[in-house]
Symmetry: D2
Subunit: 319 residues, 4 copies
């Protein structure tokens, strides 16, 4: 579809214009057949959250055995790594009060920034597209407006309460942190799971520990320069495991840059657009690693910012 749109930049005098139109329409048809409608039907907007069921909640809740709680979100603060020209600003206005005989005083804050695309961030189904098309083939020209997405916004996402599995790939590879640009393979995921004697099951959240988070606010330039992460093969493995969400301690979850230089964020497309699987970045997975907390009840409900393609957050792991 996008290619059809882009035709406007093609010189009209081109001799091959008509045949181009034919070709592009065919391509569009072919693409549609490939990845939508979704497995939950053409009208579905929930994506992999369809896998969240009461039975899954009950089964995950059984993982709570120690009463331990882990906070997986990073702090939003001055000095954190920011991508490109994104910003975050918090100011406390002049202190208020006292009022009343009880002399009440109070303080507030005013914030601006790309909440949902900085620090710990959740990618909703409207965040990523393949050309003009997002999850289930919705055209961004139909649902993306200046004031928010009219569909696929994070306020529509169900609370993600399910089994969470930490996959410590760094430990499996015997390093503190994987190299920037290292592509985590299916074998790596399988090997790390074997090492932890665990399996992923349908409806899980899979969190991948690369060690990259140790650079957070200690070496922001290196943190942002590139990142280890899953490639297309590992992503397809996770798709096949029927996860609800993937997450990691890097800013992109997927390997960056992609080893195939012609591809830009293809894993995001595979997971989010094609399979309705959510993604969460910049998670504090090291807390889980320290305690070998490999499975747990994972709880996260996106901040319901109407029409936002992503959300900030502070997920909790309980075991």
């Amino acid at each position: 579809m996008k290619t059809v749109e882009e035709m406007k930049r093609i010189p009209a005098q081109s001799l091959c214009f008509f045949s181009l139109v034919i070709m592009l329409v065919n391509v569009a048809d072919a693409q549609q057949a490939d990845w939508y409608p979704s497995e939950w039907g053409p009208d579905d907007r929930r994506g992999a959250a369809n896998r969240l069921t009461p039975a899954k909640v009950l089964s995950a809740a059984k993982l709570i055995a120690a009463g331990e709680v882990y906070e997986l979100g990073r702090t939003y603060e001055q000095g954190m790594p920011l991508f490109g020209t994104r910003h975050y600003s918090l100011r406390v206005p002049v202190m208020s009060g006292p009022l009343g005989d009880n002399e009440v005083t109070w303080h507030m804050s005013v914030i601006s920034g790309q909440m949902g695309q900085i620090s710990t961030q959740f990618d909703g189904l409207g965040h990523i597209g393949i050309g003009d098309l997002s999850y289930n083939g919705l055209s961004r020209h139909d649902f993306v407006t200046p004031e928010g997405l009219t569909s696929l916004g994070v306020e529509e996402v169900d609370p993600i309460v399910t089994r969470g599995v930490l996959i410590d790939v760094a430990a499996y590879k015997g390093v503190e942190l994987l190299d920037g640009g290292y592509e985590i393979s299916e074998a790596d995921l399988r090997g790390a799971l074997d090492r932890q004697d665990l399996q992923i099951s349908s409806g899980d959240v899979a969190l991948i520990h690369t060690g990259w988070g140790s650079l957070w606010m200690t070496d922001n330039d290196r943190f942002n320069a590139n990142a280890p992460g899953i490639g297309m093969e590992a992503a397809q493995f996770l798709v096949d495991q029927e996860i609800v969400m993937v997450g990691s301690d890097t800013w992109g979850t997927e390997v960056l840059p992609n080893p195939d230089p012609s591809q830009v964020f293809p894993v995001h497309q595979l997971l989010i657009a094609k399979h309705g699987i959510f993604n969460m970045e910049n998670l504090a997975t090291e807390l889980l690693v320290d305690d070998k907390a490999y499975e747990f009840l994972f709880v996260y409900a996106p901040l319901p910012l109407k029409g936002a393609p992503g959300a900030p957050g502070n997920p909790v792991a309980i075991r």
Copy 2:
């Protein structure tokens, strides 16, 4: 207390200086004796979160029997009730991409507003003071800066994972919603709990349903004009029950205005400043009421906005 702090600037040669110091210190002593140091010692910054223990988590997790999940946060959106001149703005920048042969496209959002004091909001221990003093006697002149609180910010708050109890006062009083300005008494809380055959235990989160939330975005003027809520007596009852946090479906949790016109937000002071008990406002308690979901595992970790006195959020109830 403020005058004590400011004394440093008074010329030391003043003949009256010593007697002044004595006077002010006496005033300070008198006040201090009243409500600080906290029961967790003078250096405590966690407040009632000290009551969150692994044992409490384990006991609360046992409440998960149906696998049902409730999202208790309200949507942040244009048209929601805002207090005074607070604002909320979300815009989606020009759509990005396509990049790469895979034609990746993406969308973001940019947000500004008093996040933490609009829609569903969590009051941290640095939000409220008695004169210049906040929880544990910290002077706001010592910890409140233009760029954030240097202590008592919401990023220091432990994830609140504990038993949640819904107290349906509206049902107890036989109304859809309580009147604006109605003061919920200790007897009301006791009566409502009896009706539900429940008790509050130490470390619980107590959520109060007044029905006021039915006015959210249906009658914003009435919603903001005043509110039903707990008075000092009921608040003291909750303090005595050793709760961790109180919450409700109104914008202030406490009765507004206070029946004693000389008092402005005294319940906030009692709970937050004097007893380190958190507060959460504008919760979607009606979802729990509909299902008579009166006890549950409550899970909420404040968005860790460094130095913020409050946080937005979307708590989850699981049962």
Copy 3:
């Protein structure tokens, strides 16, 4: 061009697809012939600012005879009329200092909003398009990015220092304020100028007083509901007079809604996109009216916000 882009929504199976392509390409060619390149050549980005010359400045400066200065910008403040969901927020952070033996203290402000599209506002050449095309035929797909316009941004606009002429249409029509929706005609402009014994000359700024500004912050609902203003005929007259900028005391300068219900802001298109003539809205023209200050040196340089399609401002009239 836009229509070509829109083709993507046309069912590919349409029998008339090929002929449609041919038709649209022809339409695009026809449109191009109509209104671009600009009279200053295809590469021009200055628009009517080309009419600003040293000679014009010298001639306009001769209008300074009384030493009187008028501030034409409205205050940016809480409670002003805002269009749609635009917002404006100013907060003063916690007071800073004292620092040093000299005890310096200071105060700042933090602002968010649609600066450039609220209160007094200047429309740059990148603000308005005809389909996808802006001034001189630039496609918005080529110069509008999430982080700003890469061409036609207000930072490229020359300071507008020239003769200003106030046209008091309200007085000519014998009313305090024109009716909402009243279309100011060429005859009205000519009549008002005759009444003032003035003529517009090439390179002037023409400010139109409708009286509508008396509703500013006194009746915001009425102010925003519609507005008197120039129609296409009057706008063409101003084009023919070779003005640099038009301005008024309404939020749109042009009549709103347009008497032809099929047309939305056509005057903006005529002036800005087709003729490179700037526009300024919500000006405090009543100050000029009160003193019958009908011609003056007009001075305004847009706040140079890189890549912004519009700018806030506070123009000055000197005579």
Copy 4:
């Protein structure tokens, strides 16, 4: 002074109360005698703008002889030097339209930042204090609120239309740019004026060229590290010349750091708080230097942000 204000809260029954009042009032008297009320009386809020008169405008307008216009504001953009944690963000929301048969399209921007304390910036009389006191002895506890200054805000400032004088100190010292931390003396100002065969007269705006602006966006770290500028002696000379405003091509106008390490921004206090003289920073003075444009009509009206202590802007020099 603050203690005087705070006294109201001290229990009146205190035995020491009367002597305390006497002591503090004496301190206040001593300070007051020093620098306020202003020379325009105790109720004045205009400060040195009182020197702006029609006669001054007329005399300055005579400087327009070439019809040349200079834009003195720097662009607000990503990558400009920002002090501390101040920020500036501009985003263009998703493109709007087309609407109507005329297919109107439009673009906007949404901005956040410390407008008034970034890039080119104007310091109003409420920006700086000596302890708690600002211009004319106003206590900041009386006029600084979270939502803006209730007095001395930039919206109250008269348009500054007067003679502008450029003082090229760098040229006088024979350098491209003065050293960071170099204190411009009275002799430097007198020498530079002599070299240019000019004198300052009452009501002028004095712009000082240090050459420091050449580091803007070319070496931001050096630009922000320190700065050349006027010291107390030179500032007193400008006070004695009865200027309305000082400005320069640095971020502070005054020498930074002050050669006396116990003093922090004392020149700001002398000019703004004690003498009601405005200040403007980060001006593009190099444009004037290039043309030896040493005197001109200076035109600037602060963006009328209600209650703001400072304003952004783009002043114009005309000659």
